[in-house]
């Protein structure tokens, strides 16, 4: 048996961001000609580690070896020279450039700029590995998968033999994923070494030869894929067997609170982001919304909150909890919604970009939704401060004070607690949350789950957009599955299995058939039962 050669060896790599340790003395090996999966939860430091390999960051400590030679990678340029190419999760492409221009960007080929010659070479590469690409297409006209293709060709064009793919499948449909995996295997046959960062276990098992696992910035170990299964990988990834044990009481008092019919939203370019979405959200119930990232979750919540223009056939009905009177929310902006007495709370996905103001204090952020109260032209500074202190105490927000320190200085979990706390303090009748636990530690996540359940038991209609299916299945009462902007089904979270939901998330795209309406899906389920 011939000795295994290492394409990459990272030794004792440590990286700090301020006071946070992103990577703690990590040792990682990539063998030549293998596909290695780098597995870990969100925030486990996978991307940071790979960024140090590709020259984006520079390690505080440690040594990197490429083909057993010690190297210093100070910039992406250095990385290219060692044959390392990284395909980032967020594509690094210039929108107004063509595919060709993007691919040759930063190269120092001899002679004048010759786009035709470059386009020819791109064609050759794509034929060799089985890509489909138009070299003269502008990036802003491309689909996500096309953009990813450009990124991969960019790396191959530079002759990279070590490729790093950062969560490449997060934005892809199953077919596109299959195609990508085929391409990856072609590259492997061609002698290239690949690292794929992911947290999807079935993909790990499908594509890779070996799996390396990170947890909370530390290297846990590696295992040959042949010897691994989902359970063993999960155990290594999370450190213990996943048993979420989220408390899910059943509320007695359920009534229609929000009814959405034929909701259609188009983006600036006229593409339908939501297509004929219909559902109801009931009080005393958590309605989960599942789907691949970018399936229309953001548009759905923003449309209800009055932040997205909706097509005329859409209807958003709200039923007042006290009077039972119905009210049409169509075409209302957030101010009108507040003024008309609709108690709608919204925890948006983008905390500082939308829900909060980073440079303001907790108290000032708490008043963001309620500062209008009263007739006085002056702000009421007192009650927000009291409220802020209440939120800080109730949710155990760690902060030196509520009216001096800018919110941006707090950690992500504390920021999220402030945001959720504020929205709950509005005593809403509908509470919408988008990725409420993204980037939070386990404890804070549970705090948030408990808060949502508490709200549910108080008769609030909670809408929970999540990415972790395990949580959705244990937290929610019903789950609405979105797929490509359409509803691919609304299911009972107590009886449905993870596999069923996973299937529905990709259902439409797999069959390629016109979408069934929500009702039809429901009927189909009844028949099954």
């Amino acid at each position: 048996m011939e000795a295994v050669k290492n394409a990459v060896r990272m030794e004792g790599i440590t990286k700090h961001f301020g006071s946070v340790i992103a990577n703690r003395s990590i040792n990682l090996e990539l063998h030549e000609g293998e596909i290695l999966s780098l597995l870990g939860e969100n925030g486990s430091g996978k991307t940071t580690l790979m960024n140090m390999l590709s020259g984006i960051y520079y390690p505080d400590e440690g040594q990197i070896y490429i083909h057993d030679q010690p190297v210093t990678i100070k910039s992406p340029k250095d990385a290219f020279e060692y044959g390392i190419g990284m395909i980032h999760q967020h594509f690094k492409l210039v929108d107004v450039f063509t595919a060709t221009e993007n691919i040759i960007l930063g190269l120092h080929e001899p002679g004048m700029l010759n786009l035709k010659r470059a386009a020819k070479k791109i064609k050759e590469i794509s034929e060799r590995y089985g890509f489909e690409i138009d070299p003269n297409q502008k990036v802003y006209n491309m689909s996500v998968s096309q953009k990813q293709t450009v990124e991969i060709i960019k790396v191959l064009y530079r002759g990279a033999d070590i490729l790093i793919l950062d969560e490449p499948t997060a934005v892809l449909t199953p077919q596109e994923t299959d195609k990508l995996f085929a391409v990856m295997r072609n590259m492997q046959k061609d002698g290239k070494s690949l690292i794929i960062i992911t947290h999807k276990l079935h993909e790990v098992l499908e594509v890779s030869d070996r799996v390396a696992i990170l947890r909370k910035g530390e290297y846990i170990g590696d295992v040959l894929t042949a010897n691994a299964n989902q359970q063993s990988l999960t155990d290594m990834m999370v450190g213990r067997a996943v048993s979420l044990n989220i408390d899910r009481p059943k509320s007695q008092q359920t009534a229609e609170r929000l009814k959405v019919e034929h909701l259609t939203v188009k983006d600036v370019e006229g593409v339908k982001r939501l297509d004929d979405v219909s559902f109801t959200a009931n009080s005393g119930e958590i309605l989960g919304i599942a789907g691949i990232a970018g399936s229309g979750q953001r548009e759905l919540l923003e449309a209800i909150a009055g932040l997205q223009p909706i097509e005329p056939e859409s209807r958003i009905m709200y039923f007042d909890p006290k009077t039972g009177k119905e009210q049409l929310l169509n075409g209302m902006d957030p101010l009108k919604i507040i003024r008309s007495g609709v108690l709608l709370s919204f925890v948006p996905e983008d905390r500082f970009g939308m829900g909060l103001v980073g440079s303001m204090t907790i108290a000032q952020n708490v008043m963001l939704r309620s500062y209008r109260k009263g007739r006085s032209p002056l702000l009421d500074q007192q009650s927000p401060r009291i409220l802020a202190e209440k939120i800080v105490n109730d949710l155990e927000v760690v902060t030196p004070n509520v009216d001096k320190i800018p919110l941006r200085r707090l950690s992500g979990g504390n920021v999220q607690k402030v945001l959720v706390g504020r929205e709950i303090e509005q005593s809403p009748s509908v509470l919408m949350t988008a990725y409420a636990v993204r980037g939070l530690d386990i404890n804070t996540s549970y705090t948030i789950y408990n808060l949502l359940t508490e709200q549910k038991m108080q008769g609030v209609a909670v809408i929970y957009v999540g990415e972790d299916l395990d949580v959705l299945l244990e937290l929610c009462d019903r789950i609405l599955v979105l797929c490509g902007g359409q509803v691919s089904g609304i299911v009972d979270a107590r009886s449905v299995t993870k596999e069923q939901v996973g299937l529905m998330m990709t259902q439409f795209r797999k069959t390629g058939e016109p979408q069934k309406t929500a009702n039809e899906t429901k009927e189909a389920e009844h028949e099954e039962q």
Partner: protein
């Protein structure tokens, strides 16, 4: 037949004197907008252009003044008479560009404020120096305090038709257009302005590109200031209105959608608007209304341009934003 003949003679006579002067007036605008386009393509919004043009102008004038007063006119060497003001102008605007880059690229200061204070700074220096030069020479001609570099200006322009500096301006604009469109470095510069993170990841030295583009852009704009003094003001310095030229040049950048080639024609159009009031010889008072035209046209242009939605006509995406690699 004869009447129309007379009419055409008059018209041709008018145009024959009007067009060259419009071109002369256009050249400082062209220099300014070319320099600013190059700068903005790197993602730097340099509102200091008026100040830089001022500094370029006064540096050139000072150099010329010095050389003229260092000996008699007969001793003057044509080569030096051109080279000295030119070099002084380039050095002055180079330093201004360097200052802007240091503040906005290295220290990541707000580009708008930096640019504005550069304009106030440059205007201050130039007006103070100019004023001091005037006071030193006690030059009071017809009640207007001014200095004239009579000898030097002969090597630049004869005052009636555009001189070599004007043609250089057109050549530079064409060169910049070709550079941006057809060269590797030009493409990489555009990438830096559009998306510095992408450019950085592609191994392009963002800081170097920003520095180079902004400083060279400043030097081109500085030549515009020199051009204004030599061509439009015939070598006379008395509180020139370079700031207006500078602001119009920045407006032209938006108008031409960051295309130096288009800017050649747009500048000439604005040059014509600027001298319209001098040429039509309106009664005093009405003249001020004619002077209003270029500004009102600019306002309309700004509004019309903002209705433009085509992707290629939009400003570089990172324009006005500082770049920091480890931004999280």
């Amino acid at each position: 037949m004869t009447e129309s003949g007379t009419f055409f003679t008059v018209l041709i006579g008018f145009l024959a004197s009007f067009i060259p002067r419009a071109i002369m007036q256009a050249m400082p605008l062209l220099y300014g907008s070319t320099g600013e386009i190059l700068t903005e393509k790197s993602g730097n919004l340099n509102l200091g252009i008026p100040g830089i043009m001022f500094v370029g102008a006064i540096a050139g004038v000072s150099g010329a003044f010095l050389y003229e007063h260092s000996g008699s006119a007969a001793q003057m060497n044509g080569f030096l008479a051109v080279l000295i003001p030119l070099l002084c102008c380039l050095v002055g605007s180079f330093l201004m560009g360097l200052l802007y880059c240091f503040l906005t690229v290295t220290l990541r200061a707000n580009q708008n404020v930096t640019g504005l204070s550069m304009t106030i700074f440059g205007t201050g220096i130039a007006q103070f120096l100019g004023g001091s030069l005037i006071k030193i020479t006690h030059a009071q001609s017809a009640g207007v305090a001014s200095i004239t570099i009579t000898e030097t200006v002969k090597y630049f322009s004869n005052g009636n038709v555009p001189g070599w500096l004007a043609y250089t301006g057109i050549v530079i604009a064409i060169l910049v257009a070709l550079f941006l469109r057809y060269t590797r470095a030009g493409m990489q510069l555009r990438a830096v302005g559009e998306n510095p993170a992408t450019a950085d990841a592609a191994g392009i030295n963002v800081t170097r590109y920003k520095y180079l583009a902004t400083i060279i852009g400043s030097m081109i704009a500085g030549l515009g200031g020199l051009c204004f003094v030599m061509e439009c003001a015939h070598g006379t310095w008395s509180e020139p209105r370079i700031d207006q030229i500078g602001w119009l040049a920045i407006a032209l950048v938006i108008f031409t959608a960051w295309r130096p080639g288009v800017s050649i024609f747009a500048s000439i159009m604005f040059g014509a608007l600027l001298i319209l009031s001098d040429h039509l010889n309106p009664p005093i008072g009405i003249k001020e209304l004619y002077t209003l035209i270029p500004y009102v046209v600019t306002l309309l242009v700004l509004i019309i341009v903002s209705l433009r939605k085509k992707r290629e006509d939009q400003p570089p995406q990172s324009l006005g934003l500082a770049y920091f690699r480890e931004e999280r």
